[in-house]
C-alpha cells in the first residue's frame, strides 16, 4: 500500500457535469498516470459543492486549494505544477468579484463564509458512491443510536423538540407529522421521501441526493423506526438520472453493509427502500397525487382528510417528508434537539438550502441559518446582481411563492415572515430579477407554468388559472382593459379558497404578490400601454433620436420598410408598420435608436 499524499476532488454534480467535469476527471486520470502519481494521489468524484456558477470545480487536499472553471486543458498544468511540484496554479483560483483578490482556499470564499452547512455538510466533501466515506465521517451513527439506545417515542420526541419543519415548502412540524403516523394502528406502514422537485430553478433536493444519498436513506430509516414502518419509497423524477443512479448505488451498498434490510444493528428492526421514478408532473409533488402515482394510478390529488398519516399509500398509514427534511434527521439524533434548535429563529429552526438563480453573480446552492436576511443571501453570498444592474425583485417559493421588492430585502427569511409578506418558503428556489424584468411578465411566466401543470381535476384550478392567464396575456400585449386588475384579484381569491390541492391554492400567489408590490406596473401596462421595464415586446416602440446621421443603414435593415428619411437627414419609424424586430437598433452604428 502506498501513502496517499493528496486528494483531488472533482465535482460530479449535474451542473459541473454539464460544464464538462467528466472530461476533467478523465484528464486527471490520464495525467496522474503519465506523471506516475496515480498511487500517491487519490482521485475522487464528489457531489455538488453549490458554487455551480464557477464549475467545474476541483479541490486539492491537503492544501484545500479551490480551482474554478477547470477545463480538460488545464489539468496537465495542475498535475505538473501543483501535484508534481507543489505550486498552486494561481490563474485558476477564485477571484472575489468586488476586490479582485484571489482566494486560494475553499472556506475563505465569500460565498461560503456566511453559510452554515448541516444538510450539505458532506456534499462535495465525500464520494457519494462510496458508503465507506459516509461512514468515515460519522454516517449511520444516528441510525445505530436510534435503534439501540432510543425508543420510537424518544425519536419522535427528539424530532419534535428540535423544531424541524417540513422543507418541501409547507413548513408543517415534522415531529408532529411523525407522531400522527406513529399513532395510527396498522399491520403495515410506509415512509415516503418526496423527491419530486419541480419548481423552476430549484435543485436543492437533487444536489443532496447526488452528493450525499446515504444521509437521506439514514433519515428515512430513522423515520421508519419511529413510526413503525418497514418499507420506504423515494419518489424521484426521471429527469434526475444522476440522482437515481447514485441512490441505487447507495441503497445497494447500504444493504450489502447491513445498514438497510433485515434486523439492522441486531435490533430486530427491518427496513427496505424502493425507488419510484416519476414522469415529471408538477402536481405529483402534492402528497396525495404522489401516492396515487406510486400505486400506478394517474397522478391526481384527492381531498384530505383522510390525511396520509391515517390512510396513505395503498390505504395504509404513511409519512411523507421532503428530501431536505430527511437529510436533517441524522444530525438531530446525533447532536440532540437542543443543538439543532440553536440555529434559526424562534419558530423556524435550523438551516435552509436555497438555490440561487437568475440575475445573480454566484448562481448556485447555499445553506444558511433561518432568519438570515434576503439581502445577506443575495449580496453577501450571491455576490450581487450581474452586470452592475439594479435589483428589482426576488421570486421565492417557485410557482406557489411570490415576488418581494427591494423594500423587503431586510426581511428575515423564515416560514412565517415570508407568508406574511405574501410569499412562501417553498422548497427554496430563489430567482433574482434586475431592473430589466417586467413583473407582469414574471407573473405570466409562473402562471403559464402552473396552468400547464394543472391536472384538471377541479374546476377552480383548471378554468380559473386559464382565465387569469388570458387576462395577463392581454395586459402584456397592450390589450389590457379597465377593471382587469380587480378581475384578477377576485379570480385569485376564489381559486385560493376553493381549489382542491396546494397547486391550485397557491397558483395565484405570483399574481397577488406582484399586484401587491408592483401594482403601478400593471396600471402602466393597462392605462398607458407601456411596459416600464421595456420587456414586453408587443408594447415597445423603437424611436430614432437626434444622434441619427442619416446613414440609411436602418432603413435598409428594416424587413418591412417601416423606416423612411433622406440621406444625411434624421430618419423616422412608422409605428403602424413596425413589427418590433429590433433589427434597426442592433445595426445602428451611432446608437441613435432607443426602445421604450
Amino acid at each position: 500500500m502506498q501513502h496517499i499524499r493528496a486528494h483531488v476532488l472533482v465535482c460530479g454534480g449535474t451542473a459541473c457535469k454539464s460544464s464538462g467535469s467528466q472530461k476533467v476527471r478523465d484528464a486527471f486520470a490520464r495525467y496522474l498516470e503519465e506523471y506516475k502519481l496515480q498511487d500517491e494521489v487519490m482521485l475522487v468524484e464528489t457531489g455538488c459543492h453549490g458554487f455551480c456558477e464557477h464549475g467545474p470545480l476541483v479541490i486539492v487536499y491537503p492544501e484545500g486549494t479551490f480551482y474554478c472553471r477547470v477545463t480538460a486543458d488545464d489539468v496537465k498544468e495542475i498535475v505538473e505544477q501543483h501535484l508534481y511540484k507543489g505550486r498552486i496554479v494561481e490563474r485558476l483560483l477564485y477571484r472575489e468579484p468586488l476586490t479582485q483578490e484571489q482566494v486560494p482556499n475553499y472556506d475563505e470564499i465569500g460565498f461560503y463564509k456566511k453559510q452554515h452547512r448541516i444538510v450539505l455538510a458532506n456534499c462535495g466533501e465525500i464520494d457519494p458512491e462510496n458508503v465507506g466515506e459516509y461512514i468515515a465521517v460519522g454516517g449511520y451513527e444516528a441510525l445505530g443510536k436510534a435503534l439501540t439506545q432510543m425508543s420510537p417515542e424518544q425519536v419522535v420526541e427528539e424530532v419534535k423538540k428540535s423544531g424541524l419543519r417540513g422543507r418541501g415548502g409547507g413548513g408543517f412540524p415534522t415531529g408532529l407529522k411523525w407522531q400522527f403516523a406513529k399513532a395510527s394502528v396498522s399491520d403495515k406502514k410506509y415512509v415516503i421521501c418526496n423527491a419530486d422537485e419541480g419548481d423552476p430553478g430549484a435543485f436543492m433536493d437533487r444536489s443532496v441526493l447526488e452528493g450525499d444519498p446515504h444521509r437521506v436513506l439514514e433519515g428515512m430509516a430513522i423515520c421508519g423506526y419511529a413510526i413503525g414502518a418497514d418499507e420506504g419509497y423515494i419518489y424521484v423524477r426521471a429527469e434526475y438520472p444522476l440522482a437515481i443512479k447514485r441512490l441505487r448505488v447507495a441503497i445497494a451498498q447500504a444493504e450489502e453493509a447491513g445498514l438497510l434490510g433485515r434486523n439492522i444493528f441486531g435490533s430486530g428492526f427491518d427496513f427496505t427502500i424502493h425507488i419510484k421514478e416519476g414522469a415529471g408532473a408538477f402536481v405529483c409533488g402534492e402528497e396525495t397525487a404522489l401516492m396515487a402515482s406510486i400505486e400506478g394510478k394517474r397522478g391526481m390529488p384527492r381531498p384530505r382528510p383522510p390525511f396520509p398519516a391515517v390512510s396513505g399509500l395503498w390505504g395504509k398509514p404513511t409519512n411523507i417528508n421532503n428530501v431536505e427534511t430527511f437529510a436533517n434527521v441524522a444530525q438531530i439524533i446525533n447532536n440532540g434537539a437542543e443543538w439543532y434548535s440553536r440555529f434559526g429563529t424562534e419558530k423556524s429552526k435550523g438551516t435552509k438550502v436555497f438555490a440561487l438563480t437568475g440575475k445573480i453573480n454566484n448562481t448556485g446552492l447555499a445553506e444558511v441559518p433561518m432568519g438570515i436576511t434576503m439581502r445577506e443571501i443575495i449580496y453577501d453570498i450571491g455576490g450581487g446582481i450581474t452586470n452592475g444592474k439594479k435589483f428589482k425583485a426576488v421570486q421565492i417559493g417557485g410557482p406557489s411563492g411570490g415576488c418581494l421588492p427591494e423594500s423587503m430585502l431586510d426581511l428575515p427569511v423564515d416560514y412565517d415572515s415570508l407568508i406574511a409578506a405574501g410569499a412562501m418558503m417553498g422548497s427554496g428556489g430563489l430567482v433574482v430579477m434586475d431592473e430589466d424584468t417586467c413583473m407582469v411578465d414574471v407573473a405570466k411566466f409562473f402562471l403559464t407554468f402552473t396552468q400547464s401543470e394543472s391536472c384538471g381535476k377541479c374546476t377552480p384550478c383548471r378554468e380559473g388559472t386559464k382565465r387569469m392567464l388570458e387576462i395577463l396575456t392581454r395586459i402584456t400585449e397592450g390589450e389590457g382593459r379597465e377593471g382587469d386588475i380587480e378581475l384578477l384579484e377576485s379570480l385569485a381569491e376564489n381559486i385560493k379558497a376553493t381549489a382542491l390541492c396546494g397547486l391550485g391554492q397557491s397558483a395565484p400567489n405570483p399574481v397577488l404578490s406582484t399586484l401587491r408590490y408592483f401594482r403601478h406596473e400593471y396600471e402602466e401596462h393597462i392605462k398607458n400601454k407601456r411596459c416600464p421595464a421595456g420587456a414586453c415586446e408587443k408594447m415597445l416602440s423603437y424611436i430614432i433620436g437626434d444622434d441619427c446621421k442619416g446613414c440609411t443603414k436602418c432603413a435598409r435593415n428594416c424587413p418591412v420598410q417601416a423606416i423612411s428619411g433622406a440621406v444625411k437627414q434624421k430618419h423616422v419609424i412608422d409605428q403602424s408598420k413596425c413589427i418590433k424586430c429590433g433589427a434597426c437598433m442592433a445595426g445602428c452604428p451611432f446608437k441613435a435608436i432607443t426602445k421604450g
Binding site: Q2, H3, R5, A6, P62, K85, G132
Partner: protein, 122 residues
C-alpha cells in the same frame, strides 16, 4: 454489520483515509523546484511515501514547495510537527528518509547532523 460496535470499528478504520481532508498533523515538505527535482526530489518523495505507508502513518501530510535558494543543498526536506520548529534537512538521499521519519517524525528527535535550517514556531 451486526451491531453499533461493528459500525464504530469500521468507522475508525475508514476515518484515516479521509484525514487528509479534515485535519493537519505533522507535515513533511519536500523542495520540488527544478533544482530539487534535478537532485532527486522525486526519489526522496517516493521513499517518504513508502516509509509512511510501511509505518501506517496516515496522519502525516506530504507537501511540496518551490526553490528557497539553497540549491546546492537540495534535496531539501522539512519536517514540521504541530507546535514545534520547522526543521530543514539538506542533501537528503532516499536512504536517509527512514532515519528522519523514525527519529524526528515519530519520536520527535531532530537528526542534528543533517539539519541546515530552522524556523522557530511563532
Amino acid at each position: 454489520m451486526k451491531s453499533l460496535a461493528d459500525l464504530h470499528a469500521l468507522r475508525d478504520k475508514l476515518k484515516s483515509d479521509l484525514k487528509l481532508r479534515k485535519e493537519s498533523g505533522t507535515k513533511i515538505i519536500i523542495g520540488m523546484g527544478t533544482c530539487g527535482i534535478a537532485a532527486g526530489a522525486r526519489e526522496v518523495m517516493a521513499a517518504v511515501l513508502d516509509e509512511l505507508a510501511r509505518r501506517h502513518l496516515t496522519d502525516v501530510q506530504v507537501q511540496q514547495t518551490g526553490c528557497i535558494g539553497m540549491c546546492d543543498k537540495e534535496v531539501l526536506l522539512d519536517v514540521l510537527r504541530p507546535g514545534e520548529a520547522r526543521i530543514t534537512y539538506g542533501n537528503v538521499k532516499p536512504e536517509d528518509v527512514s532515519k528522519i521519519i523514525a527519529n524526528h517524525v515519530v519520536n520527535g528527535n531532530i537528526v542534528e547532523e543533517m539539519v541546515v535550517g530552522k524556523i522557530e514556531n511563532k
